[in-house]
Symmetry: C2
């Protein structure tokens, strides 16, 4: 008897190739995703990330399930320990029985692929935990900011039923700012010894923070950093008492539960908003950014001759860039 | 004999109050600035920074003297040692007899005022050196990027006759990107142990770099960082062999002369460009950014009802943010 004469058992269904869902299978795929099938979640995310032909059908099918998850953005300078803190938050949320989706915005993905994702999985020991799903997302590049795909991936994780979605930036730049805009709750992370960055925070990051965290709270200088930030907050009367300032040590877990409690505090307020309006805000933000890029690109590239008089007026101080811009946008 | 009966010597002319130059005195002020009078330089910069009533007259008077200075931008993640490296470069340039203007873009200035400037002056021991002029410039805030005033201050330092103008960012964010756009030569600085940031560089900062520097070259891991960057460069065929990669140690001065030589190498090419076109490029950039901000602001604030169909189309995946933006910009 040779192998070829064996009556074969029915072969297992082929694994769904990433980026290859038939639009007609969208409903089935979403149903499988909602039962927690990880391969289905990964496939849906990939389709949405690439905006494949199946993406509209998938998003359509997802609509009734959206608006449940709370989207929490983590931002701050490199070296402040964002990843470690996010991992500690994941652990606390899991201990409380909540499911967590993580989107790590990784500006390097076009080249280094899954390297950072791999690190993350090792670090979180989340590999065997069905209650956590980690996705590393390519930004369109350091200068370009957050990929619009992030908003669709939020929808995928939301539709898959994760209670809370953590958005984390790796590195610096526009993508950090974007994450802050796209999230429902913004957490700005600092650490002892970030003199320059505390300075930077004073002027901008403070204003977008819903919660301020001094991480690496076990290190010398943490108290001083707390005081500096407290001082910075007190200068802004509008922020006084409104932005919780917390000290954490992701290493030994100190303060992480308090951070999760602060997130939940704000989360209860966010939950009162119309979920549709939160989702539309994200879409409006993406459109606004795309329009801004388009306008800037047209101005810098095209018709430089017609722009020269305005450029010269700006150079000679008779016109501000703002009024020159207004003239251009208005005509 | 009482003090009041003394015939007073002619009192010294009152110091020019900052921000209070009479437009009629513009020519006189520029003349004093061009003799190297530091108070005049400071006053002109202040007028231009604030775009005072005297600013147009000052800029008009400056025009014949502009286009001499080379503008060199230093950017990179916090902690890479930008300030220390800039100080080492200043020293080398001074030893070569060249005069240096420095604009430190300091996102914190609205609050902390001269703190960083003070540090800089202590660090550079440039306080008594007429060949160096350091100005700390407020960015409009972390999120807003570089102040348009930077371009006018470049003109002031250029008009004052400084050979080279170093633009340095403190902290992270949009202002770094802007500095890179405004400079004639862009230097991107990294350091050992900046794993995430090397990743970030791969995807975006590499493309804007004219020179790549691994600072803190005396530290362990410097060679590995060099290799990583070399690898990143080699992936981009368009960059291979075109972007010098240098190792420096600002601490002991290693490599700083080579960096200055690399700057001069590129500087000779830049000098062939029409100075007017370089200045117009800066102005066009400012106008483009202002227009982009204006458009984004209008989209996010106004007429959200008319935007809702587009936002919903983006959310449902039937439209990309780019095409939604194109529809808006076109109508």
């Amino acid at each position: 008897m040779t192998k070829t004469t064996m009556t074969p058992a029915a072969p297992p269904p082929p694994p769904t190739p990433p980026g290859r869902i038939d639009p007609a299978d969208a409903a089935d795929m979403i149903a499988r995703m909602r039962t927690g099938e990880r391969r289905a979640i990964a496939s849906v995310i990939t389709e949405l990330e690439r905006l494949s032909t199946a993406a509209p059908a998938l998003l359509q099918t997802l609509q009734p399930f959206l608006g449940h998850a709370l989207v929490v953005g983590f931002t701050g300078p490199p070296g402040a320990g964002k990843s470690t803190l996010v991992n500690a938050v994941i652990e606390t949320l899991r201990q409380q029985g909540r499911t967590v989706g993580v989107i790590a915005v990784d500006p390097s993905s076009p080249i280094s692929g899954g390297a950072i994702l791999g690190d993350r999985i090792r670090m979180t020991s989340a590999l065997d935990d069905d209650g956590v799903f980690v996705r590393s997302l390519a930004s369109r590049g350091y200068l370009g900011g957050l990929s619009p795909a992030a908003v669709r991936i939020i929808d995928a994780l939301d539709g898959a039923g994760f209670d809370i979605i953590l958005l984390e930036t790796v590195g610096t730049g526009q993508s950090e700012i974007d994450v802050a805009e796209v999230a429902d709750i913004r957490i700005v992370i600092s650490a002892p010894g970030f003199g320059d960055d505390i300075q930077a925070m004073k002027s901008g990051l403070l204003e977008i923070a819903d919660i301020l965290v001094v991480n690496k709270g076990d290190r010398p200088g943490a108290e001083q950093t707390m005081q500096q930030l407290m001082g910075a907050l007190s200068i802004r009367a509008s922020l006084t008492g409104k932005v919780p300032l917390l000290k954490t040590s992701a290493l030994n877990g100190d303060g992480v539960e308090a951070l999760v409690a602060a997130i939940d505090d704000i989360g209860r307020r966010v939950a009162l908003d119309d979920p549709k309006s939160r989702r539309r805000r994200r879409a409006r933000y993406l459109i606004a950014r795309a329009a801004a890029d388009l306008v800037a690109q047209r101005i810098r590239q095209g018709g430089s001759a017609s722009l020269d008089p305005l450029a010269d007026a700006v150079l000679s101080g008779t016109m501000t860039p703002d009024s020159a811009a207004r003239q251009i946008v208005e005509r």
